[in-house]
Amino acid sequence: MKRFIATRILLSIVTLLILSILVFVASQVLPGNVARNILGPLADQASVDELNSQLGTDRSLVVQYWDWVTGLLTGDMGTSAIQQRSVFDIIGDSVVNSAKLALLAFLIVVPLAILGGVYAALKEGTLRDRTISLGGLSATAVPDFVWAVLLIVIFPLGLGIFKPTATAPPGSNVFEQVYYLILPAICLVFVLFGYIARMARAGTLEALDADYTRTAIIKGLPQRTVVRQHVLRNSLLPTIAVVATQIGYMIGGLVVIELIFNYNGLGKALFEAAQRKDIPVLQTGVLLVGVVYLVATLAADILYSVLNPRVRLGSES
């Protein structure tokens, strides 16, 4: 077990290292002259050179990469020359906003999807099972911004409830913020429900089929107790992995939803950074998205191995 966790952590660090190089190459090396990109083709060479030495982009690439990575490790993300703000502030604010939206969406979708998946598994093969499974998958297949458009047309425009923008006025309390965030959160519910429900369903079916469940039934335990005590607990394991892989998408990947609902999350911040060629924000923000994903999947893997029912429940019963 310890060996598995150690290997897993080591692999994540290697992956992170490769990711940082990929991000650096894509955002620093390929676009070419940084100052020229900021100042445009009409600027004279002298001011381009001056800005480059100001930004430190006239140094060798290895030095720049080393500077960036060591800066990150010591908590220094640098400053955005274009926005005249520290990268930490720009990214920090947007990450908090992204996390709020992700949290609200997860709070709605996780219990709902698990309930749906477990219910579908208990009714396996019936019309209800197929409705949940196929409905969930179809909802997932529809692009997120199509849901955004549909929800805006139906609710604020058609029925006059909820808001077409997700940014609450400054100083709003939690309930007001939730009211503004509810539509983008519902979009995410549509996108995620199918994935999570499918995993919960598969997990439940497997647990229903397992020896410990059969033993519990033969022991004469009532069905409700069997489901609650033996099946449910184990069926939730595979869903952990799905939730973990989706966190990376929720923090940073929601560019389109955040744009449509005009919400200042990480996705919108990265989009704007890419448009303005604001490299410091872009490369650190993108790396952060990757880190969130890697940490979340790592945590899920470790949790999964610790909670593995075949190890734990096998010895219990």
């Binding site: 692999l11 297949a141 692009p143 911004f145 458009v149 077409p164 940073g252 389109v256 872009l282 998205v289």
Partner: protein, 304 residues
């Protein structure tokens, strides 16, 4: 409603037989006919194929079908709500939304399949190599794949736009790059099973070249998963093309691309002008769902 097709008695042995190399070509052809029969009996596949067919017809004959010129602007009629003359209304410069939706099928139906084909070819090759060699090559490539998969597609698109600039080819490249590792994983898993088969050791004993073993011996036997991956990825590719052109990365104005139309008008939606956004969005949704239904049917037909 889809489960029934794969449960047909007698379907499984034929399908299973088709993927072993020792079967004769007549048996193989019979299996292919059987698979086609299964596909055509699957309601999900047929409905999906019909939806896709409608959009393919629009893509090919769009200019003839469209009631109006999709590029003709009319400042006097901008943002007219849907009515008899303009069933889908007009956009912000008075262009007919219905005509633009019809003609807009072309771009996405060219870009998405090209990108998916590239991704499938590259991913399959990668999967064959990593699955067959395992060891160091596999480990190294797997780390790269992991690094790539840590980022959402949109974010890779953002990076690509900065490094390569906006164009159709950037979109194709991004999709090929992102999807290839995913396809490679599936193919790799299939190859790991195949490489233990006797026909592979036989080929090795015959001293066949590695490329021959990979592409002539193993590849035909993993074509099932490859086909399924291709159709599934095609659905995602359409989704991704639409997203990237929404972000202004791919096809440039005044092209009647669906994602671009949504992008050009989403700011107006809170003002009540929903039609120039809703109809292209629905077009994207129906095409994605159609392709996914086809993918579902194909996956069921290839299931062993």
């Amino acid at each position: 409603m889809t489960a029934s097709t794969s449960d047909l008695p007698g379907a499984d042995p034929i399908l299973a037989g088709a993927v072993r190399p020792d079967t004769t070509s007549t048996e193989e052809r019979a299996a292919q006919r059987e698979r086609l029969r299964l596909l055509l009996r699957s309601k999900v596949f047929v409905v999906g194929a019909l939806i896709v067919l409608v959009w393919v017809v629009c893509a090919i004959f769009g200019n003839a079908i469209a009631p109006n010129d999709p590029f003709a602007t009319d400042p006097l009629k901008d943002l007219t709500s849907p009515n008899g003359t303009y069933p889908f209304g007009t956009d912000r410069v008075g262009r007919d939304v219905l005509s633009r939706v019809i003609v807009g099928a072309r771009d996405i139906l060219i870009v998405a399949p090209i990108a998916t084909i590239l991704a499938t070819v590259f991913g399959t090759a990668l999967g064959l190599v990593t699955g067959y060699f395992r060891g160091a090559v596999d480990n190294m490539l797997s780390r790269f794949i992991d690094a790539f998969l840590a980022l959402p597609t949109v974010i890779i698109g953002l990076l690509a736009i900065v490094s390569l600039g906006p164009s159709r080819w950037t979109v194709i490249l991004v999709i090929a790059l992102v999807f290839a590792p995913i396809i490679a994983r599936t193919v790799r898993a299939a190859v790991l099973q195949e490489r233990e088969m006797e026909y592979v050791s036989a080929a090795q004993l015959r001293n066949e070249r590695t490329t021959y073993i990979l592409f002539a011996e193993i590849l035909p036997n993993v074509m099932g998963p490859v086909m399924v991956e291709f159709t599934v990825r095609l659905g995602y590719a359409i989704f991704t093309v639409a997203t990237l052109s929404f972000l202004g990365f791919g096809i440039q104005p005044p092209a009647p691309d669906w994602g671009l139309q949504v992008f050009e008008h989403y700011g107006l939606i809170s003002g009540g002008y929903w039609w120039p956004v809703l109809f292209p969005a629905l077009a994207i949704a129906t095409l994605v769902i159609g392709v996914n239904m086809m993918a579902d049917g194909i996956a069921k037909a290839f299931e062993r």
